[in-house]
């Protein structure tokens, strides 16, 4: 049984022109100790997917489908039962670490309160646990770091502290939404190594959302690419990056500065992403797709299997692997 099993997840949000689906019929799963990466167009529903696992969708937003975590359907839990799962078994970190940190409260207080909120242990044990956590995330001199305020740390250090808080209750799943986007590459390398180590040592499952294909390549086992709220392709990291088979994935990879033509211009995917509530019929990508056939305008793509764990949602399947 996978740790996380999402089936037909659909997220509906309220917009100024009525309700609209930000995530449509998404299905994926994740095993213990596995790292999955989610990438895709900006606005394609990656954050909403993560927030529905946390049950933190925006006001008037709701999720349908099923999200099974260790066999339990999260969407069916009462709020009270869910509170036990969130932060305890599933934790999340954000692009801006200050989302998880209070600027004016000592690190020690933030860590120990979080621990004691979820675990009935003494202040003394919570203090020891806090020291251990800061050590795990490689904060130098944990004892004095506990005495400090978040604003006394650099962005990379704050992200490490946010990870420490997320790890406080030994979650089984960590959701990281653009965790290194605001950091420089050397600090990013440290965070990536830390996440990889946590997965190896604690069997932590990680769902990392990033647009950085380099981050996906170094950290993840599998990748899922989203467009307009749906999966377009997923597969093992090396299969997907070396042999992208969906036209959209191919476009994303071709837009990398390293794969582009000479000169200063980069390759882009022609056209604009669809707006929420105005998703094109058939394959949502068809207006921008160089390989689209007439049938793509009406036929909603179903998954076709390329190889073990590698599938695309494109019946045309125009890119034969090299």
């Amino acid at each position: 049984m996978p740790l996380l099993d999402v089936e037909n997840l659909t997220v509906t949000l309220a917009t100024s022109s009525g309700s609209a689906q930000a995530v449509r019929n998404l299905s994926f799963s994740l095993d213990e100790g596995e790292i999955i990466g989610i990438a895709g167009e900006s606005g394609s529903g990656k954050t909403m997917t993560a927030l529905s696992l946390m049950r933190l969708l925006p006001h008037k937003g709701f999720a349908t489908g099923s999200i099974k975590f260790s066999g339990k359907d999260l969407l069916a839990q009462t709020n009270r039962a869910y509170r036990d799962i969130r932060g305890n078994q599933i934790a999340m970190i954000f692009q801006d670490p200050m989302t998880s940190l209070h600027p004016m409260i000592k690190i020690e207080t933030q860590l120990t309160e979080h621990i004691r909120h979820h675990k009935k242990i003494s202040q003394e044990s919570a203090h020891l646990k806090a020291l251990e956590l800061l050590d795990t995330v490689k904060i130098p001199d944990p004892a004095s770091a506990l005495e400090a305020m978040p604003k006394q740390f650099s962005g990379g250090m704050r992200q490490r502290i946010a990870i420490a808080i997320a790890l406080a209750c030994d979650p089984k799943l960590l959701i990281a939404d653009e965790p290194t986007t605001a950091l420089d590459v050397t600090v990013q390398a440290g965070i990536l190594r830390l996440l990889d180590q946590l997965r190896r040592e604690k069997n932590l499952a990680v769902m990392v959302i990033t647009h950085d294909l380099g981050v996906l390549s170094s950290l993840t086992d599998r990748i899922m690419i989203m467009y307009a709220g749906s999966e377009v392709e997923s597969g093992l990291t090396s299969d997907l990056l070396k042999n992208p088979r969906h036209p959209y994935t191919k476009g994303l990879i071709s837009a990398l500065p390293t794969s582009s033509i000479s000169g200063k211009k980069l390759l882009t995917i022609e056209g604009m992403p669809p707006e929420l509530g105005q998703i094109p019929s058939g394959c949502a990508f068809h207006p921008r797709c160089a390989y689209a056939k007439t049938s793509c305008e009406s036929q909603i793509p179903t998954s076709i299997s390329i190889s073990t764990k590698h599938r695309i949602f494109c019946p045309v399947n125009p890119l034969v692997s090299s």
């Binding site: 100024s16 950091l183 050397t186 647009h211 294909l213 380099g214 994303l252």
Partner: protein, 326 residues
């Protein structure tokens, strides 16, 4: 001389708990029309502080900035003086820089209305700008909270471009975007540079995009520029040990699961910068004397500037492999 921006001996200081923090510690830079200067460096090294001082939002503690020869004075409540109107900034934080209670269209149109355009024309141009950055015209009537991170970033870009800048400080304009949208936005900046001679200071953690579009690259560490040169020089033969560490930490998107190299050691606190070379506690090539004497930026034979005692001539003394093999 043909300089759009000339920054001399610029320092920016903040005061925190009665302590002085020098976020920018004596920076000299120039920007020519039609030039893209990439500005890179560690998180917290002072890139945004430098950028804000350049456009007059942060008051310099020392030094000066000239835009087309005019002194850039810190902005006051009266807003941007006419001679500085074409000097703009795209802010790093698209959450903080967009007003949550005003429609997006009105916020973009502001810059055009200030420049004398009637409201309906300003809104029309705003719609075109939104389209150029990859958002539909329907964004005009929406509010900031209804957009994803990357969508807000594009709104911030459209707003800065509305003022028809001739020089722009673009602070992480593409950090939250997927690769195709990144390409679209950087192509847009490049065409404004190539067609209208706009000058750009491009601050980014995405070093491969910096490499692709910049003419020159400046590398900052803890408030100072440690290396500056043409993109080719910095990329193919990085000289400063910190520049080398940065370049070897870029993760490759090749599907080969290689972890990028990490730079060991603690990121120093800018309130207490290390003595001597500020990089010395983390430098894999540290020499005797680095902990006490401050290396000045020196121009090598190939024209680049480097602040490191190891570099005394055009020869790059230490081969790259010394760092790669760590």
């Amino acid at each position: 001389m043909n300089e759009l921006l000339k920054i001399s001996n610029l320092s920016v200081e903040y005061h925190r708990n009665g302590r002085k923090l020098r976020a920018v510690a004596g920076v000299d830079l120039t920007l020519a029309p039609g030039e893209i200067l990439g500005l890179v460096g560690e998180s917290g090294c002072g890139k945004s502080s430098l950028g804000k001082a350049i456009v007059g939002i942060e008051k310099p503690a020392e030094g000066e900035i000239r835009f087309n020869g005019n002194l850039v004075k810190p902005l006051d409540r009266r807003g941007r003086p006419t001679e500085l109107r074409n000097l703009q900034m795209i802010f790093q934080d698209p959450y903080g820089s967009i007003n949550p209670r005003r429609k997006i269209g009105d916020q973009i149109a502001d810059g055009l209305i200030v420049a004398g355009k009637p409201k309906n024309e300003a809104l029309k141009i705003s719609a075109e700008l939104l389209e150029k950055v990859g958002l539909g015209a329907s964004a005009l009537d929406r509010y900031a909270h209804q957009f994803s991170g990357g969508q807000r970033q594009r709104i911030a870009i459209a707003r800065a471009l509305a003022a028809s800048p001739t020089a722009i400080v673009a602070d992480e304009p593409i950090s939250a975007l997927d690769t195709s949208s990144q390409a679209q936005v950087s192509n847009l900046l490049v065409s404004l540079v190539q067609e209208f001679g706009m000058g750009v200071i491009f601050i980014s953690h995405d070093l491969s995009v910096v490499r692709k579009i910049s003419d020159r690259i400046a590398v900052m560490y803890l408030g100072k520029i440690v290396e500056i040169g043409t993109t080719e020089q910095i990329w193919n033969q990085p000289s400063h040990p910190y520049t080398r560490a940065l370049i070897s930490a870029i993760p490759k998107a090749d599907g080969n699961s290689n972890m990028p190299l990490d730079l060991p050691g603690d990121v120093p606190n800018p309130a207490f910068p290390p003595a001597g070379c500020r990089f010395h506690p983390r430098c894999p090539l540290v020499q005797v004397g680095c902990e006490s004497s401050v290396p000045e930026i020196r121009t090598l034979k190939d024209g680049r500037g480097v602040a490191c005692v190891l570099q005394t001539s055009n020869e790059i003394v230490v081969p790259l492999e010394t760092i790669k093999g760590r």
